[in-house]
């Protein structure tokens, strides 16, 4: 599940990409509790706009490079029991903490001590509890409704671009709609 090929790729690139990612997150305001909670209160759509424009840009480039044979996808396998239940638990934590694992690193760089002293310690405890329970969860709930490594084009049994193009159009329409309503 987590055996990462990347652990053999030069670590310096991880650091460089991280610095750029952190720089972008801070410039976007995504390192701030108020911005993240503003999104979950549906009063400030900054986080969704960042995510959707990143997905739009990333998706077109990644699928172009995949079509050209330059790269391979690197997917997470999944199951209903893992993604739905885990996603909802994560969402509760997201709301209570007001940061996520990436943005909390950015929040620490921004000087936010609730992130460093409270949130970071909590995340380390939470992942530790998961590791302790993992042997019991692994073959049970985490495997419920298992669908493995699957992309939307594979699910619908169509060419990649039959999904990429409509998703790109939908994201554009959603962003235009958000701007039109002044959100």
């Amino acid at each position: 599940m987590q055996t990462k090929e990347s652990d053999r790729s030069p670590l310096i690139w991880g650091l460089i990409f991280g610095i750029l990612f952190g720089f972008f997150l801070q410039k976007g305001g995504a390192t701030k509790y108020d911005v993240i909670i503003g999104q979950l209160l549906l009063s400030d759509f900054t986080v969704l706009k960042i995510m959707l424009s990143a997905v739009l840009t990333g998706m077109i480039g990644i699928y172009l490079m995949k079509t050209l044979g330059w790269i391979k996808l690197n997917l997470k396998s999944g199951s209903m029991g893992s993604n739905i239940i885990g996603g909802l638990i994560f969402g509760v934590g997201f709301a209570v903490l007001g940061y996520c694992p990436g943005t909390i690193a950015g929040a620490i760089g921004n000087g936010y001590l609730d992130a460093l002293v409270g949130g970071l310690a909590g995340i380390l405890i939470g992942t530790g509890i998961f590791a302790a329970l993992y042997p019991r969860l692994k073959t049970g709930i985490l495997k419920k409704g298992d669908f493995g490594n699957l992309t939307l084009p594979q699910l619908f049994k169509v060419n990649d671009w039959v999904v990429v193009v409509p998703v790109a159009v939908l994201i554009c329409l959603l962003l235009i709609w958000l701007e039109r309503f002044g959100l």
Binding site: N74, S77, F90, A115, I123, Y134
Partner: protein, 172 residues
């Protein structure tokens, strides 16, 4: 250079920047941008300091391996990149209690830290249960059109929006 000292960029500029970053991350490191595995590794690493090598034998740590890795460097980089951006624009400041929190729950740093800790426990636990977080599933997985990531990302927001409504509309 003025661009670098601005406090905020538009969310579109930031999003496009992150999207382009993901291209290079795939091309150069064959790896999507993701964060939460590193926290699980750090947690196991800290436990190993106290309880010794036998911690590595836990099945979960056998799978993810207790190493720093590319992704650990990415998370370290996020702290540095955010610090650079905040210092360049004068947006860096030490802060215990965010203003939106203070407006609903008061100015106590102790209360804020305790609740942040509890939130962190759910966040860390949920991220490992779902196999990823807002970056690994929410951005890198959805842009690859992974089914697991679209389901997870939608559930992150359903859980997050409902819980935030409860905190700010019912409790506060």
């Amino acid at each position: 250079m003025e661009l670098l000292t601005e406090v905020r960029w538009t969310p579109y500029a930031v999003g496009i920047g992150i999207g382009i970053l993901s291209w290079f991350s795939f091309l150069i490191s064959r790896e999507p941008i993701s964060c939460s595995t590193s926290f699980a590794r750090a947690s196991g690493g800290i436990e190993r300091l106290f309880r010794g090598k036998k911690v590595e034998l836990k099945p979960y740590y056998q799978e993810i391996k207790l190493v720093v890795g590319w992704q650990g460097m990415l998370v370290l980089g996020i702290i540095i990149g955010s610090l650079i951006s905040a210092l360049l624009s004068g947006d860096f400041h030490w802060q215990w209690v965010p203003s939106l929190w203070a407006s609903a729950f008061g100015n106590s740093p102790v209360l804020r830290v305790i609740i942040a800790l509890i939130g962190g426990v759910f966040l860390g636990f949920g991220a490992r249960w779902a196999g990823g977080c807002t970056s690994g599933h929410g951005i890198s997985g959805t842009l690859q059109l992974a089914v697991s990531s679209w389901i997870s990302a939608i559930c992150f927001f359903i859980g997050g929006i409902l819980m935030t409504q409860f905190l700010f509309k019912v409790i506060a």
